[in-house]
Point group: C4
Chain length 209, copies 4
């Protein structure tokens, strides 16, 4: 009987974590390239520079938003990988698809920053988040079904991970829907919900989300 | 007797893996820089934006293609490194040559995206893949011949790794040849074969490839 | 009782260190992109090239300054992480905010290099440093209060880490204030104090800072 | 007695290695950004594309040269770090200076590619290599003098590391001097000596270098 390549390939959780940290690091740092320094010729005094920096406001907002998005998904993926005994080829490829969505983020962020009033730009941004969530959900389903999860995970930890992804994606979906009133409603809602996830205030009904 | 520098240099598999993960991460994320956001002045409404994004189609296709290519070779290199007991200076340099081919990928991808109907662009892309495969093959030959492989590798695992590289390169070569009919035939064939490697459907004759 | 996602998320110090090393590495290397190679058409001989390179002087100075800044904060964060037993979700997010400030550095460096005589540019640069210091201080406060610190830290090590951050931030603040006399006074002072931290000469009153 | 911050800072070899791998990875991948894809408007057929790609020749040569340079110094630094028991603050800063020289490489490469016939460009490139070598030499001196080296290093291993750096730097210096005859002599000599280090042919007098 021949040993199939697929049986011995892609088993290292450590290398998957290292590639992921690298891709997150590059994507998170590339976001700053959209914050373009004002052109020298258009600035003739401190006052002009205040104006030019003020005009960067929407881009800075998008930058913060996407940095938080990537932070949330980085924590989410880390939580999964920490609880894996080992990986296999199939799971590695689900995570490569997840990382593909991570590398798309600088593009969709830039698009939304440039076209902040366009619903299509918001839709693209939301699809990006949806892809992040879907691949992360799929990877957890796949890991639990194939028995790759460590046994030290608290009994309902696996369910908690699923629930978190589903609730977050519902909120993102609701936020995206708000764009029928205007894209700023969507962006405001998404920023608020992400701040809640990042800061995690000790408010009862919020921490249940 | 003098200790030669060459005997103590380049022995860490961990550092080689870390450098590789870093280079793969940067190369995979740089690909997104080719997806350029439409210029604001040319877009006057949602409809224009749909058109402008639609025009990014071929670039998105190339992006997905190259991301899959790099993913496949990342899994391939990882599989080799996981089974190495240690490295040495010679093997490190073969992998540095492999990583050189990895860093070339954003260039050859960009070239093919810009000149998608030119056979020369496809030829360059294929040479890039050939260089990836050749260095990976060479590194495995070298590691097995010099006894750097761990003893826990299943008996015909070493052969399975070789076979996979040779079959894949034959398919890539056949795909490149298809460009006599047109570059889209080549690209379509390569996308299809890479999807097969990534998704690995449970179809018998496909999983034998 | 349900296991809250927040209890199992973000606990790995290793992954936090890996993401941090990645972001520092990208940010430190992106700084070089501001050192733009002179345009070929404007250079007609060795003499022109000397002039063109000389004109890069202020940018090179800013590059060295920011590289040192990032180096200092990298050492500072590493020192903290090395003494952590484990992380938790809250601490991870403080470090993500710290990393946000790291990714801002190429922007504020570029801004100050372009507008080296503008107080506002210096103010932005200083805010960036303040954000780095504040998040680092917050993370250490948070880690000690929540008992995440290893027990092998020398008794007054925790206080030494706090003191270092407070003294350094006071010096940075004083340096920023010097801009009432001109931005070059500020930059000169900050370069000098950072050289002191980097080189750490064996001078008594200096090493007490 | 107060615990000085300097005594507990910067002690992790692992983090230093991780930062180094990250910076090398980014610098090695950024080199490819100088290989600019020909502009579509100037290419009207396969023949034009051959010409346009041919014109990239000098840049490709510089790319290969710098990739090898970085590869050689990556192997060199790795060899040192592998033999360190631990680091300290002073050694960390020498390596941060070394990494500064690494991040300069994309700039000096680009400069020499653009001004390949200018002695000043070659001089800058050589200064970059000299800085790499000097900091690496300094770090080894410092590590051996302060007793940070592991005891499992073969007896004359420490001397072998020094000798290698000194011989290599002498050759680089000789290569740089050749520019009195023309920069191509220098570049040719450096490429040849680096190929010797990378390939390490089993020729007696060569392997003694």
């Amino acid at each position: 009987m021949k040993t199939s390549y697929n049986l011995i390939a892609g088993r290292s959780v450590e290398r998957l974590a290292a590639l992921s940290d690298g891709i997150f690091a590059v994507a998170m740092t590339l976001l700053v390239l959209d914050l373009r320094v004002p052109v020298e010729q258009t600035v003739h005094g401190e006052h002009d520079l205040w104006g030019a920096l003020g005009a960067l406001g929407p881009r800075l907002l998008m930058y913060v938003l996407s940095f938080m998005t990537l932070g949330i998904f980085w924590v989410g993926q880390q939580t999964q990988l920490n609880h894996l005994e080992r990986s296999d080829r199939g799971l590695s490829w689900i995570h490569i698809a997840f990382l593909f969505a991570v590398t798309l983020t600088p593009f969709s962020t830039n698009l939304l920053a440039e076209f902040i009033r366009y619903r299509l730009a918001l839709l693209v941004y939301w699809c990006n988040i949806l892809l992040l969530g879907a691949t992360l959900f799929l990877s957890w389903m796949s890991a639990t079904r194939r028995g790759l999860v460590k046994s030290d995970l608290p009994q309902d930890g696996a369910a908690a991970i699923c629930r978190r992804i589903l609730v977050a994606q519902s909120l993102y979906g609701f936020g995206a829907l708000l764009c029928v009133f205007g894209t700023f409603w969507s962006i405001g809602f998404i920023v608020a919900m992400q701040l809640n996830y990042a800061v995690a205030p000790r408010v009862r009904w919020l921490s249940r989300l």
